[in-house]
Symmetry: C2
Subunit: 343 residues, 2 copies
C-alpha cells in the first residue's frame, strides 16, 4: 500500500499465511461459502486488508465464475445504446457482477468477433445487439454461456430476447402521420442486409410494418423505402436526394433517432426551398427531447430494456433453461418535428 515498488501483488497464499489458515479457508471467506466461523472470517479479512489483496479474476475463471457480464454493442455513438447500458448498470448495483462493454469494430459483421471476445474472456453472461448474426450461431454461443439478445424477434431454443413491439410502434408513427393528413411518407432505414434480409430484427419488422400499414391505408403507390448505410454523410446525401427530387415526401419516418437527426439536419440545411417536411424518429433518446430538436419519436425505454436484459440473464445464470421473450410496449411522443402538411 504505502511501500512503493512492491515485489509482487499478494495472492491467496499470502493471505492464508498471514492469517494463519489454509488457502481453502480464505477462498471460502471470499466466496461467502458455507462453513466459516466468525473468528476465521475476521482473521482472514484482517489479512486481506493488511495485504491489500484482490483475487485474480483469471484464476477464478479457471474453475469458478468470473463475476463479469459482457455487453456487445455495435457502437457507442447511438445514445439509445447508452440508455441500455445505463439501465443495465443500475440494475446491477448491489449484485456482485461487473459489467464490461465490448464495442464492435466500425466494420460491419464485427458483432461476432466482439461476442466471441467476451466468451473467450469467460464472462458469466452475454447481452448483445447483433442484427447481422445468424440465429444458428447464436444458439451455439448460448449453449455455452447465458445469452440475452436485444432487438431480435427470434423464436429461440437457448437464448432470451428483449425487444420493443416494433410493429405496434410503427403503427403509432404512421397513424399519427396519416391522421395529420400526410400521404407521401417515406421510410429511411438501414441497409437491406438488416431489414428485408433479416425480417426478425427491429428494423426488419419496422420496414415490413411500414409497407403493410401504408398498403392497408390504400397508399401502396406511395411506399418509398430508402435503405442506407448509417454513416452521417450517406444519410445526409440520401435525404437531400429525397427532398430535392421529384415527388418530395411530406414526412420522413426514420428508423431511429440518430438517423432522424441527420434527416433534420438535411431538412434544416435545405431551408424553405426544401419545403415543409415532418420527421419522426424512434427510441426517444434524450436529444429528441431537447427543445431545439423537438423530435417526435417512439419511446421504448432503453433503460428499462437494459434492466430487463440483466434480470433475464441473472435468471439464466441461476439456472433457468427455457427461453423467455420479453416485449416492451412503445409510446409515441409527439413533438414539433411532426405537423400537418402545408401543401
Amino acid at each position: 500500500m504505502t511501500t512503493q515498488a512492491r515485489t509482487r501483488a499478494a495472492t491467496i497464499n499470502d493471505v492464508a499465511r498471514v492469517a494463519g489458515v489454509s488457502r481453502a479457508a480464505v477462498s471460502k471467506v471470499l466466496r461467502d461459502a458455507y462453513g466459516v466461523s466468525d473468528a476465521m472470517r475476521e482473521k482472514v479479512n484482517a489479512a486481506i486488508d493488511e495485504l491489500g489483496y484482490r483475487p485474480r479474476v483469471s484464476a477464478r475463471g479457471m474453475r469458478g465464475a468470473t463475476f463479469t457480464i459482457g455487453i456487445e454493442l455495435p457502437n457507442l455513438d447511438n445514445p439509445f445504446f447508452s440508455d441500455l447500458v445505463s439501465g443495465a448498470t443500475s440494475r446491477l448495483l448491489g449484485e456482485p457482477y461487473q459489467l464490461i462493454v465490448a464495442p464492435a469494430s466500425p466494420a460491419n459483421a464485427e458483432g461476432e468477433r466482439a461476442i466471441q471476445a467476451l466468451t473467450d474472456r469467460q464472462v458469466d453472461g452475454v447481452i448483445a445487439i447483433s442484427p447481422e448474426v445468424e440465429q444458428s450461431w447464436l444458439e451455439d454461443v448460448a449453449a455455452a454461456v447465458p445469452l440475452v439478445m436485444l432487438g431480435r424477434h427470434d423464436d429461440t431454443r437457448e437464448y432470451d430476447t428483449v425487444v420493443g413491439d416494433d410493429a405496434a410502434g410503427t403503427r403509432l408513427v404512421l397513424e399519427h402521420l396519416l391522421g395529420l393528413g400526410h400521404r407521401r411518407i417515406a421510410h429511411l432505414t438501414l441497409p437491406e442486409s438488416v431489414t428485408v434480409e433479416r425480417p426478425n430484427t427491429t428494423h426488419g419488422v419496422r420496414e415490413a410494418a411500414y409497407r403493410r400499414i401504408m398498403a392497408d391505408a390504400g397508399l401502396a403507390g406511395e411506399i418509398r423505402v430508402v435503405n442506407v448505410e448509417p454513416d452521417p454523410e450517406t444519410v445526409y446525401a440520401a435525404t437531400r436526394d429525397l427532398i430535392d427530387g421529384p415527388d418530395r415526401p411530406t414526412a420522413v419516418f426514420a428508423a431511429h433517432d440518430e438517423l432522424a437527426l441527420t434527416v433534420l439536419r438535411a431538412v434544416a440545411d435545405a431551408g424553405p426551398a426544401g419545403g415543409d417536411v415532418s420527421v419522426v424518429g424512434y427510441d426517444d433518446t434524450w436529444i429528441a427531447r431537447h427543445p431545439l430538436i423537438s423530435l417526435t419519436s417512439v419511446n421504448q425505454s432503453g433503460q428499462h430494456m437494459g434492466g430487463r436484459a440483466i434480470d433475464l440473464l441473472l435468471d439464466r445464470v441461476a439456472g433457468r433453461k427455457h427461453p423467455v421473450h420479453e416485449v416492451v410496449a412503445p409510446r409515441l411522443l409527439v413533438r414539433e418535428s411532426s405537423r400537418a402538411p402545408t401543401a
Copy 2:
C-alpha cells in the same frame, strides 16, 4: 460446430491430440512463437478449425498476457467519451488487442472501483478518465499495469497523460466572447470537488483559467462560477436561476457540451423573457455541429486523443518506462449560439 449439446468446449489438449503433437507445440503456433515448421503449423491449424477451438483468455492470463486493454469512463452519456472510444477502437484495428469498456457506476467516486475491476481482470493496459481519484493511488496502479490517464495535467512518475490544452482553450473561448462585447460571462462547471479541489484536472484548469483571464481583462467583479452536479435537472435549475436572477449574464461558458446543451435548453425554455444569452461549450461533439443546435465549442478531437492514448499504452506495453505527457491543441468553432450581446 454442427453437433449440438457438445459435451465440453475443446482445450489445447484436444487440439494437441487431434493434431498428434504436443501441447507446447500448439501453444507455439497460437502465439506465433519461434521454432515451428510449416507442416506443424498446418496440422495444428487444421485441428483448431476442426474442433472450433478458442484459447481461454483466463488461462492465458495466469502466465502471459490477456491481449485485452480496458478503458474506464465515468459514463457513456457524454458523446465526447464515445469519440474517445471510437478513436481508440480504430487505432487498435490490426493489433491483437481487444478493447473493453468499464463504465463507472452513476455514483461518484466509483472510478476507482471500475479501474480496479479492470486490473482484477488482468488487462494488459488501462486507459481511464477519473478526475476524482488521487494521484498517489494511480501511481500504485501504474506500478502494476501500464496506465494512460485522460484529462489530467498531473506531473507523474509512472503513468502517461493525454490532455487538451485547457488553459489555451479557455482563452480562445473568453477572447471570443470578450471580443464580441460580452462582460457578464458566467462559467458553469462541475462541482468544486473536481475543479478547485483538483486543480490538475481539465475542469480545474478551465475554471482557474476563466478566473485569471476575467481578472486580467479587468472583470474580476464579474466572475461568476456555478458549480453543479452534472445531472440534467440540477444543471437546468441552476441555469434558470442564473437567467431569472438579477445581473443576468449575457454569456455562459459551459465546461463541456453536455452541460451546454442543458443550458441551451433552459435558455430556449425561458424564451424571449430570458433575454439574449450566448452559450459556448467544450469538446465540439457531433451534436454541437447540428444546425438546430449550432453550438460554439472548443474542439480537441476526442478521436485523436483516444488514438494517442492507445499509442502511448502500446509503447508502455512494449517496455517504455518514463512518463510521456501529450497535450492536444484546441480550436474554437464559432457557431450561432454565440453572438454580440444585444443590451
